[in-house]
Symmetry: C2
Subunit: 364 residues, 2 copies
């Protein structure tokens, strides 16, 4: 058990009764809380304006800029939580890995990590200590954001170890992560070493955000859906557990409640029984699995987050509203519900539609 | 009921007792039949040699070349079936749609199909009659291939209406097919018109292959996995049924058995109960769902095809063999089993490993 220090920003209880925090703890606050994955950045004109003069990764590492981008959707949409503006490769970058974000493609690595030697070199040169030494800009941005947010909670965020590993092995985005999954079966020991390393980096990245004032965290596994149940259970879940280990042991000062943690994996409808074992307080559900069905499969044990289908964002207002009503109705089965999309905000989304969804949610 | 003509190549019963045909009919032949999705092309050096002097779509439409490529994996691996060398965009191309295959990317359309007007124009200008008029090269290639194959069955093949529509709406490959799924919800009537049209083209394409001598067909839905159950059932399954309608009504001369049909959708573990309603004789299962689990969910009613994980192709021989044993063991639960990969042959596959898999399957 790690108690956060007395001078921690949340020790004044500023977000303890926020609808988001209450819902993630399994409560039913008077207002249905809503936020949107990828709400910071992408579709907002005020974000695009900022990005005219600064690159994506630079924006993540410049505290003043990251704070501003994180706050934009709060001002515009009135969502119930901010999510820290970052990218899943930021911990790798800070640890020293040579990675760039290529527009229209995604993360591209100068040196794909494919052999036992590659993994050993990563562990030696880009370890968690190096990340800890370089992480100050992230702490500074979180502190500044939390100060501005007041009683609105900030959600910290990290990519899951498998997703980081899949990018590293492939060297770039790929469809089925075949190289990564091949390494898993050809050399399971090297695979384990690789995931131990990415899990340590995710752990440090999440922990720093909580120490600086995040009220909850989300572990985001973009690619777990490419795995069968046995592979996920044997070769991936232990690393996700490891990534969450420190934040799950943290308590607010004075014997406070544990910090809410959310797990979200895209396309993982077949893995629900496995992600249930990760120990997070809540689960994000993608657009493919109805919330009542997900809750039933979880034995109605977890608050759920989700899962408006982004494909409805362009639909006529009454069609979108009927879809929202359906999601809210199904979400009532779970012990708590945070309304969200079932995937990130598409770059093409109309910001006014997102604002309208927040209004509709708050009227429910 | 459509009886095939007396002079149909299969009227001599040449493939009736082939292990593939028997397994797809729910029998347990003395030899476990095996073939590989995408076995024709891609990883074979003799295929790459041919492709040095001819483009992909030209190769599909040049009967002599398509026949040679279709036969190559029979000669090299000794698989139990040939699969017709083609591409899912071929019916669109033959119907007049302006489409190109861009290396490293996939099909790219000159005019994405996104509005009611776009769909009306497609139906008017690129209808099934135009495909029927242009399909002779496909018939010729199938006839020639069937002649060469003798008692080895040829599997005909077409892309499913949803997959064709997803490409057409996006105009190119995409990750979540968001534009296509948005059209589905924004304008369901236009969506239905679009899928009616692609279903008719798939139907004509499959029917031509059967009339020319294919012993079975596979409908391949690359992108159905992006859909939730309700969307698949309401907006997609009826079109897949329509695409299979004619071939499912066909019988060999003299009151012969119906032609075996296979449905395969990638990432569709959550849709098994829905694809069960399509009326196909057998189902392909991707690498994520163990065959015994799939069979249980089907009520053990269908022969299954699959589902070696392509991620094992690079693994040490004993690891691959243990995986194969596991797949074969689980496949015993189904009323019939055709061994295959759980996805297409990766371009990086070692052809000798595929040959070894055939040998191992035939020893089982």
């Amino acid at each position: 058990m790690n108690e956060l220090p007395e001078n921690h920003p949340l020790s004044d209880g500023r977000t303890t009764h926020a609808p988001l925090v209450r819902a993630l703890r399994g409560d039913r606050p008077e207002r249905l809380p809503v936020w949107f994955m990828r709400q910071a950045g992408r579709s907002l004109p005020e974000y695009r304006e900022i990005r005219k003069s600064i690159g994506m990764l630079e924006a993540c590492l410049e505290p003043e800029v990251a704070t501003e981008i994180t706050l934009q959707p709060i001002r515009r949409h009135g969502v119930d939580a901010a999510v820290f503006f970052s990218d899943i490769v930021v911990p790798l970058l800070l640890a020293g890995v040579d990675v760039d974000l290529v527009a229209g493609r995604g993360p591209v690595f100068a040196h794909p990590v494919r052999t036992a030697e590659d993994v050993a070199r990563c562990r030696r040169e880009f370890g968690p200590d190096r990340l800890r030494e370089a992480i100050e800009p992230v702490r500074a941005a979180v502190s500044r954001t939390v100060e501005e947010l007041g009683s609105t909670p900030l959600i910290g965020f990290a990519g899951a170890p498998f997703t980081l590993a899949a990018y590293l092995v492939e060297g770039a985005p790929s469809k089925d992560h075949l190289r990564a999954r091949s390494l898993m079966h050809s050399d399971p020991e090297t695979w384990r070493e690789l995931l131990d390393w990415t899990a340590e980096l995710s752990d440090v990245f999440l922990t720093a955000q909580v120490e600086a004032g995040a009220s909850a965290v989300q572990l985001f596994d973009s690619w777990a859906g490419s795995l069968g149940v046995a592979d996920y259970r044997d070769h991936v879940a232990p690393a996700s557990r490891r990534a969450l280990q420190t934040v799950q042991s943290m308590r607010l000062p004075g014997g406070g409640a544990p910090l809410p943690t959310i797990h979200f994996a895209v396309g993982s409808g077949h893995l629900l029984e496995e992600v249930a074992t990760l120990g997070t307080s809540a689960h994000g559900i993608d657009w493919r699995t109805p919330l009542d069905e997900a809750s039933a499969r979880f034995g109605d044990r977890f608050p759920l987050q989700g899962n408006l289908d982004p494909a409805y964002l362009d639909a006529p207002a009454e069609v979108l509203e009927a879809h929202l009503d359906d999601v809210v109705r199904r979400g009532r089965r779970a012990p708590g519900h945070v309304l969200n999309l079932g995937h990130g905000v598409p770059p093409s989304a109309d910001p006014d539609v997102l604002t309208r969804i927040v209004e509709l949610a708050h009227e429910r």
